[in-house]
Symmetry: C2
């Protein structure tokens, strides 16, 4: 099944003829008479795309688009409108309201299906990382991008600068974005110093050679690391529906079939700029989210989730090479009192400075992780008990030796740390595996350091 | 710039003629004479693609491919080989060794550039979530997929079943995957009960109508939510380089220009199945990683990173609606001793069971998060101090009332919890914002509960 499309039109014959076209391409079709019914239907079974008449009994395509956005903001449902040649004004109003495109009657099947494929493909690509579940909401991915004036950089690609100079002249007074001109080849071989453009506009001629060159350029823009995420608006200099569908299938994001119009192009560019910014934000959030999966956001150290499998890998390698490695569990002394007396911000400052001192005193190859509130795990490959003890004593001394700076205080705070040390590899025996035994030993040593007065290193002694 | 390509060929005229073709399409080109030089060059400046002669002075394309994989496993660099018609055996060996494709001389520019675009595009798409930094390594994304026999489901698409029945007959004895046949239309309208296929094979006829239909099907497969990640191998029934390049640009993953060959198709299908599995794993890991960004993996509760902004949003809404909400900070008593006496596994079991009891006693709309080792944050919208106190007392009683089960022990352990309770909204005054003040109040109340003997709820009293 290709996806579900909701047709909204009060005239039954229009709905039926559209349904036949869409069903022949294996789309599932739902129907509604007017805006009210459409919104109810979307609430029941959200489709992948809405196709509606430009005018409906209880409003326009613009009203439907706004209604869907208000009621189902996280759906970000694309709307395609169908109108007549004489609807020029309401066509622009629809584009301004967020309708993805307005196709004019008589409908061409090739172009219609090309458009539908393109809109559903874009939606699937965006959905991929949206993951409509709690994770999304939690990361803030589902929030629509702020709707303020688009800023960004549009580039008009041209072989004939007279044409595009005219376009630029028409666009400049309206467009809320930087506009520049470039030769098509430059689009893929020269990246401006301030980063790749946000949107390209490409003219698509109808003569076979020109059309082939333009289509190859679309493919090249989509294959290029710097331009693959840019919006791409293709402008046909003369209508050719098969070519239009191919341009969309090759990766054009939007298409004008009837040449240049300053008002219309401005609206389409604003929409592409908005979409680009939303997608950029989404990618950035996913990157941040992934970093959060393995790093402790406060200290920048690795977290427990990362540390445990990493420790297991170090232990494995040590067993293979028969070289020792040291494991320390370190815990700040009386940390709870710092939090209670000076507040969470002070506790956070102590943790951040502790992390920095640990980093300063350890090697790049050592693993340093925050595995609990005030608890740190340190793993040093290729390290004997004696070497580990020297390193741990140095850490202990560096924490106790200099005061910690608290926010809103000039008085440095004295902080100490207790460290339990164990050395692997342990041969696996009994129920626990070797890593768990090693951690338990380091934990026991830490406990002993705490019991014997804190601010000290205790070595693990084999259990009796 | 389109990307960097390393040309490896001992014959200078071959290198120069290839360099001219690639430079005209704005690729940056590096050169090497042999495998040794090529590996050194990749070590210095990793390219996006390697194009090499099928035979080199110090080995074959297969050797180069293996050498690159051994030396730079995380690069996953695509290799394209160029050979002669009489190299049939070494051609298959190269495909088996992991070479992406072997193009035969004389080279057709259109097909060459189409292939190059397609390989670089696939590489960019894969790279997007690889994020060549510490995050990747940490999440295990960079690890290449295990190289065992591919399993999966390939579907041969056909209008003429005689042809594809013959293909299936040739493939079945060799292919390490399930194989079935379907009509092209069925590929996009019928999803098998056991999920979408992993790879489609599509015949591409040269007659204009057949070619157009096949190209539209490629686009439809790429636009469809269920098939967009499937591998797609296109088989040309008669050579047509322009059509081949278009098929690749529309999203075909691999292409055979000279019709069916059972041995060759088997190798290509195995490669596509492997690539599909790697991509599936990558997406799954990213999903898991993102979940880890907002959930505590041990208890399944939300983590601190999620809880803090969520609490801020609840506070905002409460201020808008002027309705109260309760904030609890709960901390297991003497948890460190449980860990120290019974080991980390016992501590983990107590945390998991605590989380379950909190969930059992709270509403779906309440926020429950693990914000520290043994510390939990609970936020109850629309809750007064009296209601919050009742809820907190119930939690306290449920933790203390039933023993906790430890692993490897039949003796249940008695565990208690202390809870500090504060109620918002607070009007923001002074330096701290209202959420911080509320948390500080709950923290102070918790401290007081601990000081006064633990296993109790303490309400926040306005500070003197």
């Amino acid at each position: 099944m290709q996806g579900t499309i909701l047709i909204v039109d009060t005239i039954a014959t229009n709905r039926i003829s559209l349904k036949v076209k869409l069903a022949s391409a294996y789309y599932k079709v739902a129907q509604a008479d007017d805006i009210r019914q459409a919104i109810a239907e979307v609430g029941r079974r959200p489709p992948d795309l809405v196709i509606c008449a430009l005018t409906l009994p209880d409003g326009t395509a613009s009203d439907l688009c706004k209604g869907l956005r208000d009621r189902f903001p996280s759906l970000q449902l694309p709307v395609l409108a169908i109108g007549n040649r004489d609807n020029a004004d309401s066509r622009l109003a629809a584009l301004e309201a967020g309708v993805s495109d307005v196709l004019l009657k008589p409908l061409d099947d090739t172009l219609l299906l090309g458009r539908v494929r393109s809109l559903i493909r874009a939606r699937n690509a965006a959905d991929e990382w949206q993951m409509r579940d709690d994770t999304t909401r939690a990361l803030g991915l589902a929030e629509p991008a702020a709707d303020y004036a688009p800023l960004g950089h549009c580039v008009l690609l041209h072989d004939n600068s007279a044409t595009t100079l005219g376009w630029a002249h028409g666009l400049r007074p309206r467009l809320r974005a930087r506009l520049s001109l470039a030769k098509p080849d430059d689009a893929i071989c020269e990246i401006p110093a301030d980063g790749p453009p946000d949107v390209f506009v490409l003219a698509l001629p109808s003569d076979p050679n020109g059309a082939t060159a333009a289509c190859r350029l679309i493919s090249a823009l989509r294959a290029n690391a710097h331009t693959r995420h840019a919006g791409l608006l293709v402008v046909q200099l003369s209508p050719n529906t098969a070519l239009a569908a191919t341009a969309l299938d090759l990766g054009a994001d939007d298409l004008m079939t009837d040449g240049f119009d300053a008002a219309e192009m401005t609206l389409r560019l604003h929409a592409l700029l908005r979409r680009k910014r939303t997608a950029d934000q989404l990618r950035a959030t996913v990157r941040t989210g992934l970093k959060a999966a393995v790093f402790d956001p406060l200290t920048g150290l690795h977290n427990r989730r990362y540390a445990m499998p990493h420790l297991a890998r170090i232990a494995e390698r040590a067993q293979e090479t028969d070289r020792p490695f040291a494991v320390m569990v370190a815990d700040l002394d009386h940390f709870k009192q710092i939090n209670d007396q000076f507040g969470h911000a002070a506790g956070d400052a102590v943790l951040v400075q502790t992390a920095q001192r640990l980093r300063d005193n350890l090697r790049g190859m050592d693993l340093i992780a925050r595995i609990g509130g005030e608890e740190f795990l340190i793993v040093m490959p290729g390290t004997t008990m004696a070497e580990g003890e020297t390193a741990a004593a140095r850490l202990c001394a560096d924490i106790a030796g200099r005061g910690f700076h608290l926010p809103h205080s000039t008085q440095p705070l004295r902080v100490t740390i207790s460290i339990g040390l164990a050395v692997g590899p342990k041969r696996g025996e009994g129920q626990m595996d070797s890593v768990d035994r090693l951690l338990a030993e380091a934990d026991r040593a830490l406990y002993s350091a705490k019991v014997h007065g804190r601010n000290q290193v205790t070595l693990s002694r084999p259990a009796a």
